[in-house]
Amino acid sequence: MTDRRAPTPSQTVGPFFGFALPFAGDADAGVGAVVRIEGQVFDGASATVPDAILEMWHGDVFVRCATDASGRYRVTLPKPPAMPGPDGRTQAPHLEVSVFSRGLLRHLATRIYFPDEEDANAADPMLALVDPARRTTLVARRDGAGLRFDIRLQGAAETVFFAL
């Protein structure tokens, strides 16, 4: 009657991906006007996570960046434009983010919104579905010439993650 198939279950990326998943220029996409985003990944004890790998994208733009020994990542990419949502309402500029690491049996999905888009963020239909007290975890902070976006996997100020 149906040929619906159970999806293959996820398993952790493990700790030993560093020789396989990074590729030349993986953390930097685009030329010209790009935005630099950096940050750290923290666990529930506020320890840095040195074995995570992040993917961020919008449209055809894609970056991948493994965290270093201090849990730090740094990417550059063109800032995304505002984009139409499926119901016609406009979504504020944002990046989709996947977080993989040892200890994550499934990856986590989150988003990065931009601090200079206050009006667009206030009208964003997705952000509207997030508890207002936690929305700030999805908005990058200004940091010198670039932006800072930390990812807290667990605990106080835990980043908002979306169910996959």
Binding site: A6, P9, F16, A20, G44, F62, D87, G103, L105
Partner: protein, 234 residues
């Protein structure tokens, strides 16, 4: 609107204390559920910048000599949840060598490295959704998760698909391995889902006098991308 028979839920939870590293890394807050059509069906990452050479699919030919170990051919199909082939999508693999040691400097297991084996490969699925890698069978290795803990032999797989929810990173295991039943990472998956992670030995793809064949199909969440014409018609 068609009715969908629900596929059995086989995904592991984020928190699975038998796998110790989940304890401080699993989110504690409830994940925010976004509307299916707004989020899950939106575009996944465009992997086109990741370089793929035809030679990347043969892990036994990346060095001057041949790696030690049991030569194997691992092939299968990438399917969407309706069983349709997912074409031209990127599949990445990585693994330990035959002695159970990764090239990665993070791996300090005192088993020998093999100068003729890196253990990383990539390929794109073909028009039937097929992938195929030639490699050597990886060894088991200890991992200190608990007393006398050993990972079953496995290959890591990363598959993209076209949608946000089709992205998958997982591990493939080998049939008959007694370590599978003891492994907390495998056991994080509901009992009905564990078999989906185990390849089957396949005489049909075994090449006589040369290498054993294993088959493993990968099913991604969601449906394969709508053809561009139909998308434009909207």
């Amino acid at each position: 609107m068609r009715t969908e028979a629900a596929a059995p839920e086989v995904e592991p939870p984020y928190l699975h204390p038998d796998y110790r590293a989940t304890v401080l890394r699993a989110p504690g807050e409830r994940l925010v559920r976004l509307p299916e059509d707004w989020f899950h069906r939106s575009a996944g990452p465009a992997f086109g910048r990741i370089p793929v050479q035809a030679t990347d699919a043969d892990l036994t030919k990346q060095h001057r000599g041949e790696p030690l170990g049991e030569r194997i051919i691992v092939s299968g199909r990438v399917l969407d949840s309706d069983g349709r082939p997912v074409r031209a999508t990127l599949v990445e693999v990585w693994q330990a060598n035959a002695a159970g040691r990764y090239v990665d400097p993070v791996d300090q297991h005192p088993a020998p490295l093999d100068p003729n084996f890196t253990g990383a490969g990539r390929c794109l699925t073909d028009a039937r959704g097929e992938f195929r890698f030639v490699t050597v069978k990886p060894g088991a290795y200890p991992w200190r998760n608990h007393e006398n803990a050993w990972r079953p032999a496995h290959m890591h797989f990363s598959v993209f698909g076209s949608q946000l929810d089709s992205r998958l990173v997982t591990q493939m295991y080998f049939p008959g391995d007694p370590l599978i039943a003891l492994d907390p990472i495998v056991r994080s998956v509901g009992e009905r889902g564990r078999d989906l992670l185990v390849a089957r030995f396949d005489l049909g793809t075994t090449r006589p006098e040369w290498a054993l064949g294993y088959r493993w199909d990968i099913v991604l969440r969601g449906r394969a991308a709508t053809p561009p014409e139909a998308a434009v018609a909207r």
